[in-house]
Structure formats: structure tokens, C-alpha cells
Assembly symmetry: C2
Homo-oligomer: 155 residues x 2
């Protein structure tokens, strides 16, 4: 298992950094930060009123974006961690979302930080990654998701 500095968020290894959900050069975007916490990847993010769906509730699409981007970052980090290296080392592993299955269990308030907890649960043919991701407000799980991400061809 690679030694990961605790202050290194996973999105800093992204090549382009312009993604709406996770790109830290996209001033308009959500700019999420994900970190390793033991064998899970964790993201804590504070929504703003502009991210609402129904009043006082975070928009379901924004939550889907958090899940998608957090899971793609988690897949990248897991793939390289399994090879005992950092995500920006060669070969560079880039993933694309195949499926996003999200179950909204309860409304996710807009006023409280949102915590996402994701983990790779299966790797098939060395390129098809299944991830589970839960979304919490305080200690309540409000959303559960399964994401399938494909490792893209690489040098």
C-alpha cells in the first residue's frame, strides 16, 4: 500500500482540472476534494443555496455529480495505490463512468456539510471497477450509490 500524504487531495492529480465536479481550475464548478481514510475515500463538501433542488434540499443532480466525480477519483487512486504508486505517476490511469445507479433515501439538506464515503468493491478484467458510495448528512445516510467505472486505454 502506497504511503499517501494526508494533505494530498486526490483531485490534485487530475491532468486537466477543468471538470465541473472535481476540477480545481473550474471557478464555476464544485471543486470537490477527496482523501484516503483507511481503505475508503472520503469527501466533505458544503453546498450553497445555488445548489438547491426543492427549497432547503440539495439538488439531486448536484449529489449525482459529487458521487460521480468522487468515485472516479477514488477509482484512479485505488488503481495506482494497488500498484504502490501515486495517481500522477506513469502509466497515467484515467477512468470514465459506465453506469451510475443512485438511490435517494432521504432529502439531503443544503445547510449542512455533505460527506461521501466510497470504496472499490470489485475489479473485473483489470479495467472494470465497481464502487459503492454512501452520502451522509451528519450521521444520517441520505443516498446510496453504485458506480461502474472503466479504465481507459493508456500508454
Amino acid at each position: 500500500m502506497a504511503s499517501q500524504p494526508t494533505d494530498a487531495f486526490l483531485q490534485q492529480y487530475m491532468p486537466d482540472k477543468m471538470c465541473f465536479g472535481c476540477g480545481h481550475n473550474n471557478a464555476y464548478g464544485l471543486q470537490i476534494k477527496s482523501y484516503w481514510q483507511d481503505d475508503n475515500c472520503i469527501c466533505i463538501w458544503q453546498p450553497e443555496p445555488k445548489h438547491q433542488g426543492w427549497p432547503d434540499v440539495t439538488c439531486g443532480g448536484i449529489i449525482a455529480t459529487l458521487i460521480d466525480c468522487h468515485c472516479i477519483s477514488s477509482a484512479m487512486a485505488t488503481a495506482t495505490r494497488n500498484e504502490n504508486r501515486l495517481p500522477d505517476s506513469k502509466p497515467y490511469y484515467r477512468f470514465a463512468t459506465g453506469t451510475l445507479n443512485i438511490k435517494y433515501l432521504n432529502p439531503t439538506p443544503i445547510t449542512t456539510p455533505i460527506t461521501l464515503k466510497a470504496k472499490v468493491t470489485n475489479i473485473k478484467e483489470a479495467r472494470i471497477y465497481t464502487l459503492h458510495c454512501d452520502v451522509f448528512t451528519k450521521n444520517e445516510r441520505t443516498v446510496a450509490a453504485e458506480v461502474i467505472a472503466f479504465l481507459l486505454p493508456h500508454d
Copy 2:
């Protein structure tokens, strides 16, 4: 079947209009417009560079937002259309997303308008609506989704 004016987009019947995906009072949001086209609901939306994921590709979370909001609007419109009335007439029907199952088939370019086509495929117990939604760029289907939406308690 209700007579729907062709220039009336479905989101204008929303009560709050602040949703990130479909609220037309949310200057930051996507401000989608959905219309009836025969028995389907159609939305055409032009992404901007700030909505990208990987370079030149629309962010998967933005696509999920389009699907979620377009389907919720389609469910509202279908529920009232089935009662031969407009969505802003009483009783007012509001929906919440239960599940969002999205399959990304191909990248969705950022430079070309995106078309969403949704339809209610099943109604269970008068309150559980299943919708199918396809996403197209030009004539290519890039994403397919199934959404389950719940009719919320109402007066």
C-alpha cells in the same frame, strides 16, 4: 389529453424556480426547458465549457442533472395531463427522485446541443412513476437512463 400550448415549457409551472437544474430564477443553474412532443417530453440544452468533465466532453454529473430534472418535470406534466389539466392547477403535484439509473454509452460532446427524450413508462399505486430517458447528440444516443420518481403527499 390536455391541450398544452406549444410555447409553454414545463419548468414554468415549478413553484420555486430555484433548482440548480431546472429553476429559471437560479442564475447559476442550467435553466433547462422541457416541452411536450406528442407523448414524449423533450429538452434541448446547449452545454458551455464550464460544464465539461474530461476535455470536450460534457460532465457526467451535469448529464445526470439534466436527466433528473427533465424526468421530474416530465412526471409532473404527465400526472396532470392524465387528469386533463395543467401542472400548475390544483391539486399541485410535486415529485421527488427515488432512483436514478444511468448508463453512459458514449461521450457526450460539449460543443453540440444535447437532446433529452423522456416518457413515463409505468405508474404504480398512483404515486410511483417510472420514466425512461434517452440522451442524444445529433442523432447518436449517448446516454440511457431509468428514473423512479415519487409523487409527494399533497392537499
